[in-house]
C-alpha cells in the first residue's frame, strides 16, 4: 500500500511522549478488535487506553490522517499502520544477559514472544550456568556474544545482571552490534548517542510509591495521583 499523498505530515518526527503511548494504543486496539466493531472513536479508544480523547486524537494525527470524520478510526487499518510505525511487522530477536533470578524469569516469560520479541539467546559469565538449558535455550558464555548476535540475528539486548557488571555487559553488547538495550540493573549506564537505552528499576518504582504514601500519611493533603495511564478516573 503506497502512501496516500493527502497530507505531507507523514514521517515527521513524533514526540517522545507520544511514542511511549503508541504501544498502549496498539494494545487497546487489539482489545477493541475483539468486539467485532469495524471502527472505533477517539473517545472509546481513550477509555480503553486510559488517556483522554483529545490526547488520543493528537497522538494519532502524528501517524497521519487515518480516521474518518463523523465515523472514527478503522480498527484494522489503524492497527496495521501503528504496527508498521512501531516496527512490529517483523520479529525482533532478543538476547538476555544474566541468568539469575530475574533473567531466569524473563527467559520463561511468554509475553515477549507473544508480542513479537522472541528470546533467541541467553548469555552469562558464570561457567556454572553456561551450558544449562532454560525454556529450550542453551545458555552461552558472554564471550561468545558477537557470534551469538550474528547467528541469531539479535537486535535487542536485555541486561539482567547485577549492577556491578551492567556497564561492561552494555559495552560488549554495543561492540557486538546491538543498538537497543533494556536495562534492569539498578545502575546508570552510559552509551553512545546512536544507541537507544531504556531502563526498568523495580525498587525505584516502589520508592516512588513510598513517597506518595508517606505524604498522604503525614499531611492532610490528598494529591497523590501518580502518572500515566490508569490513574483513577472516579467513575
Amino acid at each position: 500500500m503506497a502512501d496516500s499523498p493527502k497530507r505531507q505530515a507523514r514521517r515527521r518526527k513524533i514526540p517522545e511522549a507520544t511514542v511511549s503511548r503508541l504501544p498502549i494504543y496498539l494494545r487497546s486496539l487489539l482489545e477493541a478488535a475483539g468486539d467485532g466493531l469495524p471502527t472505533i472513536s477517539s473517545e472509546r479508544l481513550a477509555e480503553l487506553s486510559g488517556f483522554n480523547a483529545a490526547k488520543v486524537r493528537k497522538d494519532l494525527s502524528y501517524l497521519g490522517s487515518y480516521g474518518t470524520r463523523g465515523v472514527g478510526y478503522d480498527v484494522e487499518y489503524l492497527q496495521f499502520q501503528m504496527s508498521r510505525e512501531l516496527g512490529l511487522t517483523k520479529d525482533w530477536h532478543v538476547v538476555i544477559a544474566g541468568v539469575g533470578n530475574l533473567g531466569h524469569a524473563l527467559a520463561n516469560y511468554g509475553g515477549f514472544s507473544e508480542r513479537g520479541f522472541p528470546v533467541a539467546a541467553l548469555v552469562d559469565a558464570d561457567p556454572e550456568v553456561v551450558g544449562t538449558e532454560i525454556n529450550g535455550i542453551v545458555v552461552r558464555h558472554i564471550d561468545e556474544l558477537p557470534a551469538v548476535v550474528a547467528e541469531e540475528d539479535i537486535s535487542i539486548g536485555i541486561i539482567a545482571t547485577p549492577a556491578s557488571a551492567a556497564q561492561e555487559v552494555a559495552d560488549r553488547m554495543i561492540d557486538a552490534g546491538i543498538r537497543s538495550i533494556l536495562n534492569f540493573a539498578p545502575t546508570i549506564l552510559t552509551v553512545p548517542p546512536d544507541v537507544s537505552l531504556r531502563k526498568v528499576d523495580l525498587a525505584v518504582e516502589l520508592q516512588i510509591l513510598s513517597f506518595y504514601q508517606q505524604r498522604r500519611s503525614g499531611d492532610g493533603d490528598g494529591s497523590a495521583s501518580s502518572e500515566s495511564a490508569g490513574s483513577g478516573r472516579g467513575g
Copy 2:
C-alpha cells in the same frame, strides 16, 4: 533535629518529575558514601546519577537548603533527609498477587528487602499453588487478602497476575486497605483518586525500543536517545 526556619519553602509540593528522580539520587549517594568523602558536589552527583548538575541542584532545592556554598552537600545528612522525604525510614511491607513466572521471580528477588520493601506475603487464586512455599513464604488464597494485609501490616500491593485478573485483584487490594499499587499486568487499571498506581510493562518498553530502531534503519536520521525514568518516564 527540628526544621530550620531559614526558608519556608520546606514541605512544598515537589514536582512529579523530581520525585521520580529522587530514588536515583539516593542510590547515587549510597555509591558516593563508599568513597569516604564527607561531601559531594552537584556536579559529581550529576555524574553518578546520569542527569546534569543544574537539574540536580534544582531538584535538591525542593527538599530544602541542605548544601553549603563553596563546599557541596553533606553526603550523610542529605542521605538522611532524602530517605526521610521518600518515607524510607521504615520498612514497607509488600504483598505480591499472582505467583506465576513473574511473581515467582519477584518473590525470590532479593533487591526488594535490601531496599526496605520486604515481601511479607504472597497470594494467588489457584488452589494448586496456595499452600506452597516460596522463599520462606507460604502462598495464601486471595480471598484471605484482608486478613493478610492486617496481619502483616501490608502497605503496597504488586500485581503479577494475567491481565484478565488484574482489575479484580486491584479492587480487592483497595478493599483490603492498600493505597499503593505496582502493576505488572499489561492492562489499564482504574483506581480511586486516593490510590497511587504505577505500572511496569515489559513488552511496552521493547516496543518503544523497536520504534527507534525501526526509525534508525529506515531513515538516515540518528536521533534516538531516550533515558526516561519511568515515563516514564515516562518516563
